[in-house]
Symmetry: none
Subunit: 201 residues, 4 copies
């Protein structure tokens, strides 16, 4: 589950405590969403998890990396093959409306901001962040766009990356800046705009 570890075939010594890892990730998730990354100390996570601070550092090099794993755990089950509803519009709404209700559930924006900040400071972390959090969701849209092209709904050779940003850009913008509500209206707006941008030309 961790970013860091990949169990080799021969394992010597005391095995890694699965209980500890679970407890750490659970504690981290709770505290991060409760207080935000900066306001949470590693000591607090360790204490809440009933775990030694050294155990956390053994598996995660930094608080942000732990946050990444903790949030990832909360989101993994939303990333499978996107549903095929038969229309581009249907597919996109089937993708984004559940995302909307999930993201509205808990204050993820606060933590995502911190992760983005870290990504700008530490390029290696940036790569992991994008690979784990950004890419999977973009790939889902690419699949949907390819299906739409196969159906003949949209032309071949569209600028998928731009379309994806047209969809997620405004949503993340409202999530991060909080200047306007992140609701179904804006989701439907960006879906319509994205489809128009493909078919208008």
């Amino acid at each position: 589950m961790s970013v860091v570890v990949d169990a080799g075939p021969l394992r010597r010594g005391r095995p890694r405590s699965e209980r500890a890892q679970q407890a750490i990730l659970a504690a981290a998730t709770d505290l991060l969403l409760e207080r935000g990354l900066d306001a949470v100390s590693m000591d607090a996570i360790a204490e809440r998890a009933g775990v030694s601070k050294a155990t956390i550092y053994r598996w995660w090099p930094a608080k942000e990396t732990l946050a990444l794993d903790a949030l990832y755990l909360e989101w993994t089950d939303t990333s499978p093959e996107p549903a095929d509803t038969g229309t581009l519009r249907g597919d996109l709404l089937a993708l984004l409306l559940p995302w909307l209700s999930r993201i509205g559930d808990r204050p993820y924006g606060r933590v995502i901001g911190a992760l983005i900040t870290k990504a700008h400071t530490d390029p290696a972390f940036g790569d992991i962040y994008r690979e784990r959090f950004v890419e999977p969701r973009r790939e889902q849209v690419r699949v949907i766009l390819r299906r739409a092209a196969a159906r003949g709904e949209v032309p071949d050779g569209v600028d998928a990356e731009a379309v994806i940003d047209l969809l997620y850009g405004p949503l993340y913008h409202r999530l991060l800046h909080g200047h306007a509500p992140l609701d179904e209206d804006i989701v439907r707006y960006v879906v319509r705009a994205a489809i128009d941008s493909l078919t208008a030309g």
Copy 2:
């Protein structure tokens, strides 16, 4: 200059050192863009500015507030009435292309992420952030949209907020996530999509 202080009419004692304020803001700007907000300490800013740490705290309550002012100073001259080119498309490009070249100049994304994070933690700061950084730029677009409506280019009663997010959302998305280039292509793409979203219906 400061967010916080507004000099009253009667001032006794040694007057505020304008030199110190300039030096602080200059030092802060340099260091913030160089290293990012988290990696810069108030001590470092004070030392680089040749100023006492207490002097900084006298005028700014927190590092993020100072960052806000420092960045604001770099951007104030871009906020006047938007140019009127005669077309909606022309106005939007005249607004966004200069913004693009400015934002590409120095690594502003690094600091903006930190400010957004702080805004999620401290609502009061969030209000100031939005008022100073977000609103002015949104208002420019509103002006442009109203001009376009007056011209009859677009219908009345459009959802201006959604349009604005359709423009800036994808651009900030690329700025903050760095998954794709922030260039003229995407600017032209969002401008076209925004206009289409207003006229297609």
Copy 3:
């Protein structure tokens, strides 16, 4: 008072808190004699002194250095010019019997052992330890021996260093090893032996 600091003639900035230094040294003395150096943490000293840990480290580089200063404070008032009783034997007893009752007062042996250990690991500390703790007491005996030589009680050119070790060696031996009581009997024994060693030849 500290080993470390020597106030220059021009002092700028907030002056060193005398209250804090006193509190630190008092807390250190208490805890050290109560529990021994290894069992006392810097955090505990800081807490007992009502002082930040950083403040301790600003003035003392290590726990042992602090212990040195703390103990020194307890002993400084015993180091003036040794009393002149008119006889070598009287002078030595007037020096050693008060030392005996002082050393028996509180468990200094425990801490002295730790300081000696540190002195073997860190030569620079060893130099300070000897200069502050060992030399002053040895010098007192040298003064006494010179007075005795002036009186004609002992010949000139005796091996003062050996005599001093003959006096303090057995006493420290009992203090540190605890194999036999450190009492007046052994003090009188070493005084007699030391004098005999000077006059027998």
Copy 4:
């Protein structure tokens, strides 16, 4: 070999690895004399010995106890019946001069200080320390003194303990404090003083 364990008559299961014990003691001796007890970690000893840390703790309850055994191994061959040279002076020199050259061989003082400190903290350890390290050497002197009394060189009923401290006290003093050389001169000085202290009265 260990202070702690005494194998019962019926031993089942895998027998204790003699190789491991040797390696542990050898590694401990090397590291302790090289760096001093405080600067050596159990992990370092385990690694140098090619042994698991748990194996060390199975046989020794603490680092100091291990140090005791390690040093004891280096010294056991010096503890038999002291040589009989026919004179008190000869016997004492025959005892102390070899001790001197041994002690000068390697930096034992560094470790002895730490053992003394531990002895003050942990009375049980203190008993073991004295029984293993102090008593044997004191007993040798007692034997020598009894022989001298039998010869009529010294009166009966002398204060043997004080004499012993008069001999070893100054030597340990120089060993531990390092203020003056630990050489033949001081050995001959203490031997003469000790004998004088017995015969002068």
